[in-house]
Amino acid sequence: MKAKGYFGEFGGSFVAETLLQPLRELGQAFESAKRSKPFQRELDSLLRDYAGRPTALTYCSTLSRRLGFKVYLKREDLLHTGAHKLNNALGQALLARTMKKKRLIAETGAGQHGVATAVAAARLGLKAEVYMGTVDMERQKPNVQRMRLCGAEVRPVPSGSKTLKDAINEALRDWSASFEDTHYLLGSVLGPHPFPSMVAHFQSVIGREARRQLLKTEGRLPDQVIACVGGGSNSIGVFQAFLGEPSVKLTGVEAGGHGIRSGLHAARFAGTPDAGVGVVHGTRTFVLQDAFGQIKNTHSVSAGLDYPAVGPMHARLRADGRVEYVSATDPEALKAFTLLSEAEGIIPALESAHALAHLSRLKGKLKRDAIVLVNLSGRGDKDLDTACKELNL
């Protein structure tokens, strides 16, 4: 008996027996939706006419001049609701409707996935309830208001670290009682099978578009692609289109928080003794944990990267040496947040600012005609409070 949903030795379905059958049904519905032309047509039309795809590919002339190579941004910040999360939320909400589910539940960290779920539910006539840690509700207030405005119920989660991890716990508990009429719209390439594959599928549009747009503008593939990695959905979304191109260097940037040595970070690939292979939220992957396997509380200035585990596909891509994973600290991310705002008039999400922080490190290391693509996963409106406080603005 071989368990399903593995990427090398990572992945699987580590959930209570009650959820096995609902997961199996979801997997089957997803496989047939993937093959269904009417489903694909409806999703394409939603993505185009409602969400605003394709998103722009922007050449950053000032930044390119300062860094000494060509910088392009894939502008997921321009997508409706302000982040890449909507690609997946619309796909899964549509799937939920075909499965005749009436209610969507979701977890959210930065609130972007919660907002995406709320608008997808409103658009498709479904009910939405979003679990959110109380710490995150405080630091991402505008998103709480947006969810409520769109008719979603926001359920505060005051347990544990009061962030994304605990919101996922609550959503899983809800789903284990409500799966008959409810779809759990998981927001990242995490959780038990089929969620990682399904979310990766719905996010693959990012890389497909970026590749086509870049080929059209530059006539060639990029030399490097950089994306931030929380759970890892925007990065998987953009990386997928380049995995088969050995000439393209792929880099994922984790949250370094106060620095790896401080122990207050969310760098699952840091290589420290507390960053080891484990099983959490239904999947086997790299997890920040203590010597006995209790899950650690993480820290990042960006709520969307503040999570102790990473999607199992990333664990595989790292094991294979295909993607390099690095981290950027809170101050580095804040510096990049300011840099992009000043240089290009684009205010990035604090999550995406981690990818930009790594970009800055490449200054002077690449040829003038090198092309670096950064996935700008979201916009920074939600982060103004946090950033202004940190930057004394």
Binding site: M1, K2, A3, K4, G12, S13, F14, V15, A16, E17, T18, L19, L20, Q21, P22, S159, G160, K165, D166, N169, L172, R173, S176, A177, F179, G276, V277, G278, V279, V280, H281, G282, R284, V287, Q289, D290, A291, F292, G293, Q294, I295
Partner: protein, 270 residues
Amino acid sequence: MTPASIGQTLARLRAEKKRAFLPFLVAGHPSYEESMRLALAVADHADVLELGLPFSDPIADGKTIQKASSLAIKRGMDTETYFGFVSEFTRKTRGQVPVLCMTYYNLVHRLGVHAFTGRAAASGVSGLIVVDLPLEESTALQRACALNGLDLVLLVSPSTPPARARKIAEASRGFVYLVSSVGVTGAKKKVSRQALRLIRRVKKTCKGKPLCVGFGVSNAGQAATLARAGADGVIVGSALIDKVGEKNFSASLARVRALAASISGGLKHV
């Protein structure tokens, strides 16, 4: 001394036409010493003690066990301490009440299945329930448990299709754990008719293996109803833990003891 095995204990009870009572407590809740006193108190009425090794993120548990787990962890309960606790308990009860360790897979995985099961067996644990480890993922742990003489108890839920329930029942050791309702653990007001139908259905697929029912059972009346429907044993957790208040531990202890006595008494008269 070697503690009694779970399978043998349940088989003996069945031969005597008795139903088993399996109370559940979280080790280290509300503190190490107090939970030892609670465990010894319920042991007087228990056929098997189901003892939780608390995990930081218990996704199959409701509020009661979540709170108990996080308090136990905060007060220092970890895997090492847990094994020490089990040794002390089995010594004090002279191995009369087998201990079934209930936990989540990451704690087993972190030590490694062989190290974990080896240490568990050496400390006197008789069996293991890993809530978030379904049949398909359990092959390695099944093997390690068999090597160390531990029963790995598997769960069947109302959402489990019949063919799958048969496979689970076949692979389960000690007994088959039937989750009486979907959702998480937590005391419920009444036993649903669905649960009773489920017992009859699953009982047929167990082929003689004992069937114990848990999730939501909160008093003697409910336990007796489940036993009459065919359950060989009844597991009660949250309802017992709910009796443990924040203050006045001796009153808490008395309440827990009384509930355990009442459920166990109720089961004797089925």
